[in-house]
């Protein structure tokens, strides 16, 4: 049923509005949030593939009744095939992305409800609104609509940062907004240039105009638009130069919030990156820029992560660094490279959320995130320590967990594309990632407990452990049966890679 497609956006919005209205009614919030969060991953599974036209306005060519007595200016030209209304497109790749986003959202909401002293309707609002916005960003085929929901996601991110009572969160939120105030209008300016030149904001139609010579693809204005959209992409996904602010944002949110916000970044990265590839893949240059930025993100993110002493900041930088792997997959431009990159995106959204929630238990128990003051947590909770260790294995790409499969595919793709250097760098940085993780793990779990460390909360909520177990199951299933995911991603990768 195609009417489920808009529901994927509408349900979290409704849930968000309800939770805000019910703020202070703790029990009701818990029940409603859990029930509605359970619907989130279920919707994309139930929905069928297809296009959803807002208001049912199909292109004129498919709807002759609307187009009666129109002059040949419209019926005789490409305008006849253009999409007049906002179009949502739900294909197999979107299915897996929205499912993973819903899953991460469900588990983040679930953890947040049980890890906080009182469930807050406002926090729930921010989380659900962010999920709705990113779902719309993934589904939409309309570049201006994408901008609108992108801004909602940015505002929801700010809300998630503000809701935590961590020291310095206001300052970080303001920095994020000021930098966003420069970068987001640049994205809009890029959209405006595209609209002006092609007369359209629908991506399919823009590509049609470029392919069929309605617009000169080499026109400098289009190059400018591409540059501006790339800049917006850097901001949206936290690639350099935005890696410092993005990792600061992760570190100032609660663990559940950080798990969700990094998923937002990953999916914004994918959505905008796919759009850049779809529209501008005729410029080989754009792929080189994607590759270069991704390499820079990997190197800067991971080397900065080693130097951090704050636990959350360390994972924040690792999360930014891991984005580079996705970018390398997209930048290679081959079918296998893009498949591997998209697969890595799916894996990374899961694994980083797993790590954030896993190390979040330490924060929950002690209230401290400075690795120099922590230690000896293994004795208290060996099970949690094991789960966190497995999360680290997954991030570093240890078989049989999922990132092993995607990183292997990425390395194979880079060798096949004639760039084995990228494979070497990826292996090198994987090792360093693992070392960084082990350093944090050692400092938190293995080292003897410092005398002045006091444990505030003995018991970790069951919900957190269940969430981590679910993440582990996903990691193992995707690791053992990668073709389950890649078969969903293949069509999109073929359509993107076939162009080159």
């Amino acid at each position: 049923m195609n009417s489920l497609i808009p529901l994927m956006v509408i349900v979290p919005i409704l849930c968000a509005l309800f939770l805000n209205l019910l703020h202070k009614k703790d029990r009701t919030i818990k029940i409603i949030a859990i029930i509605l969060a359970l619907i989130l991953p279920a919707l994309p599974i139930l929905a069928n593939y297809g296009l959803h036209y807002f208001g049912g306005y199909v292109p004129l060519i498919e709807n002759p009744t609307l187009g009666t007595d129109l002059p040949s200016l419209i019926t005789g030209t490409a305008l006849n095939t253009f999409h007049p209304a906002i179009t949502y497109s739900f294909q197999s790749a979107q299915k897996i992305f929205v499912f993973i986003l819903g899953l991460v959202g469900l588990l983040a909401v679930f953890t947040s409800l049980f890890e906080t002293r009182r469930p807050s309707g406002v926090y729930g609002y921010m989380m659900f609104m962010g999920i709705a916005a990113i779902t719309a960003v993934l589904l939409t085929d309309d570049i201006f609509n994408l901008y609108v929901f992108f801004e909602i996601a940015a505002l929801a991110t700010v809300g998630i940062v503000l809701v935590s009572n961590i020291k310095g969160n206001y300052e970080t939120a303001l920095k994020y907004m000021i930098l966003g105030g420069i970068a987001a209008p640049m994205l809009l300016l890029g959209v405006a240039l595209l609209l002006g030149v092609t007369g359209n904001v629908n991506i399919t139609d823009i590509i049609y105009s470029l392919k069929n010579g309605l617009v000169n693809p080499q026109s400098p204005v289009l190059l400018m638009a591409c540059g501006l959209i790339v800049f917006g992409w850097l901001y949206g996904s936290g690639l350099p130069p935005f890696h410092t602010i993005k990792s600061a944002v992760y570190s100032k949110a609660l663990p559940s919030g950080a798990a969700l916000v990094q998923a937002f970044s990953v999916f914004t990265f994918i959505a905008l990156g796919v759009i850049i590839l779809r529209i501008f893949s005729y410029l080989p240059f754009s792929q080189w820029v994607i590759l270069g930025v991704s390499l820079l993100a990997m190197i800067l993110g991971i080397t900065m992560a080693i130097l951090q002493t704050d636990l959350r900041r360390m994972i924040g930088f690792l999360a930014v660094g891991e984005l580079g792997y996705i970018g390398i997959g997209l930048g290679l431009g081959t079918v296998s490279g893009i498949t591997a990159g998209l697969f890595q995106a799916v894996n990374e959204a899961v694994i980083t959320a797993f790590l954030f929630i896993g190390f979040g238990t330490v924060l929950y128990q002690t209230g401290i995130s400075d690795t120099r003051k922590l230690g000896g947590m293994m004795v208290r909770n060996p099970k949690v320590a094991l789960l966190v260790l497995l999360a680290g294995f997954a991030m570093a790409g240890v078989p049989p967990l999922n990132a092993f499969q995607s990183k292997l595919m990425l390395i194979q793709a880079s060798i096949n594309a004639g760039l084995p250097e990228l494979g070497v760098i990826m292996i090198l940085l994987s090792i360093v990632t693992f070392m960084t993780f082990m350093k944090a793990f050692h400092a938190v779990f293995l080292r003897p407990k410092p005398a002045d460390l006091e444990i505030k909360n003995e018991n970790i909520p069951k919900a957190t452990i269940i969430a981590m177990l679910v993440f582990l199951v996903v990691c193992i299933v995707f690791g053992l049966f990668p073709q389950v995911v890649t078969s969903y991603l293949q069509p999109l990768a073929t359509s993107l890679g076939g162009v080159v």
Partner: protein, 120 residues
């Protein structure tokens, strides 16, 4: 007229964007920074509005008694205007949140200097 209206309007918009980025990057006062961001947003909005300009066009409202054909050929282009409506609201919303945060930070630090409040 030496320079045509649309080009002048587009250039004004771009100038606003540049001035806004300058203010956001170089000025130290937080309120001035936010004003600079407002400039950037307004510049982009003006840019989009200018794209809907049609020389000698009429307002895109279909009044009774107009011939439909004549209206369609002479009305200016509505899509940019509709987009700008949305974009203005987005700008105003982010501005509200930023100013709210600045109020709280001012109470906490007693200053509006970005170098003091938003330093390392």
């Amino acid at each position: 007229m030496i320079i045509d209206t649309q080009l002048a309007s587009l250039f004004t918009a771009v100038a606003l964007i540049i001035i806004g980025i300058f203010a956001a990057a170089f000025l130290d006062n937080l309120i001035k920074k936010v004003i600079g961001l407002a400039f950037i947003g307004d510049g982009v909005n003006l840019f989009i509005v200018s794209m809907g300009y049609k020389a000698g066009g009429i307002v895109y409202i279909y009044l009774p008694g107009m011939a439909a054909d004549w209206f369609s050929q002479n009305a200016s282009y509505p899509l940019p205007f509709a987009m700008v409506l949305t974009s203005i609201v987005i700008g105003a919303s982010t501005m509200a949140v930023m100013l709210g945060i600045i109020i709280v930070l001012y109470k906490k630090h007693g200053s509006l200097k970005a170098s003091e409040i938003l330093g390392d």
